[in-house]
Assembly symmetry: D2
Homo-oligomer: 387 residues x 4
């Protein structure tokens, strides 16, 4: 069945910060989704201002997410939003997502999933009970060359994985911290709002998800060395973590917010018995492929590169050499999620299908990762299992 | 005055090829423009199919651009499209743009402007007569780091320009041409549709515009060595051109469609008396800045990089390290054009204002460039002036 | 006093493998040292063949190092070698170096220093007792940009160091191991000859020395995760190690010989409170310098780059843009060592002076590092002090 | 027959500047050549000082090259130098080389060959008449990856060559020229000493030779646009040149000494019908290989990379990942030349054998190139044949 209309998205949060606009741009990019309503801020005034800037009709701009969920649920089916995107500070994720699901809406939620394991477990339960679609925004998995890496590993091209090095160095908190007043004001630096983890919650979970997504392996145990260099609110700003994967692969994960002048230098290297792969987020359209006895190859994203795996081709909009970036990768997650929501609208199941987007279970893994890392740190940096 | 609604765009062309979707994505990205109507193909059937895929109401999908311009012009002001984007094969640009302007619509048009100098001169006249806004889509000028380069040169940071090297090697026509049936079918390879120039019209004009845009200088004369390696339709597929700029700067421009495996490797290097600049389209978020007695710098695009020029900052949507690419640059041209269209809707003049987007005059320069290059080639590759 | 002659070098080992020739080329490069004698192999025949290839007079080619040390010691002062270079398998280092020192010769020795802590302690003692010059060949410290990094950190340019990431991934043992017969024959894969450590002894100690050399900090404790992927002789071929430095800096060191298709990808990143530094051995002439609020800089090696520290300038032979590589860095260690030997010949002390080359104490640190790493591994990968 | 001794080299010039030491280091590197005598300067005092620094016996250090050639010729065969290296300012090349050949010595000479076509023709004649070996130091042809490129083209891997882009941008004369007193003093800036060409003679001939060496094609005609930006001695400091090769390939050659902050950014790109090749001198150990329908490959220099052509393998001293640079490439030219000199000593012909080093004929091509470029420039930048 051909689609007859754009999907209708509601947005909770996003009045401030850079990630709200990214969600809106990513959702709009492919012409499949339209923003129809929002509760953009805990401040009703700011919510209304944002709604006006986005050209929304006033009656679809809400003062609170509770009001939005209740009102939208009562709208006729041909007006009601189809799904809600949650881009609030971390501490609200669980409450909003739970209520949205209970009100019958599919949910796309920013990471980390929640601020505790308990919340995460409950949310998994709610998703399963409602049978609705749930997407956790690990946007880096939307890059075509990340999908290419995953596809090649799945197909056995590099053999059994031996080693994974995933890193996410960033300089956000480095430099003259005292002078950087704006940074202080980020909710990410308020343990009550962020959930008590800074570096791991903000970027470490991305690195963790990327490692599991690309390799298809699960981390079995870890040993974490967390640091607090910016002595501000006692949250970690640097993490060096050793990983053991199921099946014997070894790994290193490091995430840092004091890596001065580094931007979002997320990168992953995977070494297998037969070959290796390397990808850097800041030059996302190249995948370096390594072979034992012949030259390494520069695999490139782009329509028309017929040698790419189908998933990588499908995640590309333009021919090679026209760089696609962060927003396009983000939009790929939206597209994959939107397809499941469309299918659900047409009667298909939504909750347990594989749509090649991160799910609530990936979110749970991320929370388990944060908690295991802190447990290791607190117990003299010992190895602890990740369950 | 705050904007109260999205601008309404009509699209002519774009049912096939990759550039139509790019226009739609770029226009949609920032939530400032909505596509309201289109005549997407010379085939009425294909136009309707495309309109349906884009969720347009059937009555706003037209069988021909003549019908579209006539019908839209009669719609009430609160429904009528505000401007039209022209993404057809080159030979139609002049006719469509002229009629659209005469029907009272602002126009955004793909490059090259027309297929002859005569057409181009007439179109300039029409734009001037109507006083409407006209944007020529030289999308590479929309990249933040291109604007940074332009801004730094304008501010005198590298002193008087001595040398410019601009290149656009591409492998589109290389490889097993006979087997690449799809390529044969491109209208770009039909001289009647493309206007008789392949490499120069398709990519050479981009390189030419980039050189003049970044340096703020005008090419005064040139010496061209054009080649036809793929002996298919007798259009040039490779161009090596020496440039003399007003004021004494020297330059090299080369564009090629037989540079096997190169993608869209547009790059520019500018050397002045005090410093130099280097930019590569395939890694668009870095500008290399060169100084005589100290290390070269990697200037990076991104919100929050306070050292950037205002124009570069304004052209950036996300913090450094989250790569923005081709579509975002394209969207910057749309945004700048849209601002002028908005201002015009509010009563401001549109036709002669500087909105930091390429205009009909830039289009005319491009046509003059193509014709001068061919004139040079035909007269034993002599130097010819570019007027 | 101007030098009046070349220094005379004797060589022990080097008939096979690639490192012997490197020593000879590095020693010869600057015209300060001449090879005058050698015991090139445990096989007298092979030693003679090598000597002949090197155009040595037959009577200066020895069948054993014992014979060489004894005979050379009896030669008149104006013929006798000034120092000996030891490039044998690891297990011989201690015996040869000790005997050479006792025979009155300065010694330059390949790493690792010895195959046990006990041997290393004894050798330190012998060096101290004899007062002779001793150089351990950590050649990577000879690169100009490594010296630049060290100089900048020493001068406080990046402030207090917070984090160090040093890596040495290599694919030597990856790929089709069974087919790579030659590799099997390397003494490095025979625990009796190598000392029982493969990855750490061969490349890990280089990474370790580089981290301490560049930062000027000492590792206080570590937690090691060693792996054996190539199940051949039960030596580690991969090492992931967390580091704590004196003063609070954190670090990661990883070395690997199963990182397929990686060559000698030694790299170091150091992040301080005020700035950061990054260097890659495979592109050794660039040092990336990172600042909080301005663009990163590409500091380049080369005579005439007046902004470089004196040590980096002194370590460079040619103007920027003429790449210097591995052999030149190696030769820098020889040059620094040779200067001390020259000074000693002129009556200056040799044993306790700072010549900017790695010493026996650096060698001891390397052995302590290997032993601590294995102790950590054997005690369930706990943290252990490095004394 | 195995070699029984090192070859004996005499050096003319080299007391000042950086290229003399490079010759000495390159000659010494592989232990095949020893410096036995020299006339290092037109100043006898400086010649003696240099000889002393090089530990030469006083009687082998000469006050003039005439004295050196005469005296060495009279020495017994087992002491006499085997060949002479000429590293003086350009204007002396012809006289020295001619006299050396006439005195019976093989010659290795810096580029450009001479300062006029007339001199060059005469020197070719002398070489042919004497039957001695003559090497022109186009050192860039000594890089392993340059030989790899040449070998692959020769073997037909990229098919018929269509396009060549060779560039040598350099910032030597840019920046604050007035303040750079040292530069003024270079003989390269004195037309009487350099021969009247600056940019072309110094670096343009390298680019030209590289293009002909790698492709195996000859330039048939050219169109040159030469510039004088640094108005000092009226020699060109920038050159943009269009090339036509025999057989139809097109090309661009540009060389510049005002490309601020560029170092020795010699690079070449060759595009053929089946593939393409790209090499950059500043990262000399990688050759980028391009294919139409599969990923580009990073071909890497290094012993053990069995996929390399024999010539590239033979030009490599150490395993991949241990960077070899400028001096090593230089030394490869010396090694190839030395082999012919050795063979000649054993009775083989020297003058007309292919030793994979640049010859007097390559030198003649370079002089013809300079003269054709200037002829084009002087005749209104017309196309002129290169004979």
């Amino acid at each position: 069945m051909a689609a007859e209309r754009k999907l209708r998205m509601g947005l909770i949060g996003g009045a401030r910060g850079f990630i709200g606009p990214v969600h809106r741009m990513a959702a709009a990019l492919d012409g499949q989704i339209e923003l129809v309503c929002g509760a953009f801020s805990s401040s009703a005034k700011r919510s209304q201002e944002t709604g006006a800037e986005l050209f929304l009709p006033q009656h679809r701009v809400y003062d609170s997410y509770d009001e939005m969920l209740a009102t939208e649920a009562r709208l006729p089916a041909d007006q009601r939003m189809d799904f809600v995107s949650v881009v609030t500070p971390n501490y609200l994720h669980a409450d909003i997502a739970t209520k949205a699901l209970q009100a019958g809406f599919h949910v796309l939620c920013e990471k980390p999933l929640t601020i505790s394991r308990e919340q995460a477990d409950a949310l998994v339960q709610t998703v399963n009970n409602t049978g609705l679609a749930f997407c956790l925004m690990h946007n880096y998995s939307g890059y075509p060359m990340v999908k290419e890496a995953r596809g090649r590993i799945k197909a056995g091209q590099i053999g059994a994985v031996r080693k994974v090095v995933v890193e996410y160095p960033q300089g956000w908190l480095a430099g003259d911290f005292a002078a950087a007043g704006v940074k202080h004001q980020s909710w990410k630096l308020d343990p009550e709002l962020s959930g008590g983890s800074c570096c791991l919650g903000d970027i470490g979970t991305h690195a963790f998800h990327l490692a599991e997504y690309v390799t298809g392996l699960r981390v079995a145990e870890l040993c974490a060395d967390l640091s607090i260099f910016i002595d501000y609110k006692q949250m970690e700003d640097d993490a060096n973590i050793l990983l053991h994967f199921d099946g014997g692969a070894r790994g290193i994960l490091y995430a840092s917010q004091v890596s001065i002048n580094d931007e979002n230098s997320l990168a992953i290297r995977v070494y297998g018995e037969l070959g290796g792969l390397e990808w850097h987020q800041e030059e996302p359209n190249t995948l370096l492929v390594k072979w034992p006895d012949r030259p390494r190859e520069l695999v490139r994203s782009g329509c028309g590169n017929a040698y790419l795996t189908p998933a990588a081709q499908a995640a590309t909009r333009i021919p090679a050499g026209h760089p696609e970036g962060f927003i396009e990768a983000f939009a790929n997650v939206y597209l994959a999620f939107a397809q499941i929501v469309r299918n659900a609208a047409a009667g298909a199941p939504a909750g347990s299908v594989d749509g090649d987007f991160p799910t609530v279970n990936d979110g749970l893994r991320g929370i388990a990762f944060i908690e295991a890392a802190w447990e290791s740190q607190r117990s003299d940096r010992k190895w602890v299992p990740l369950v």
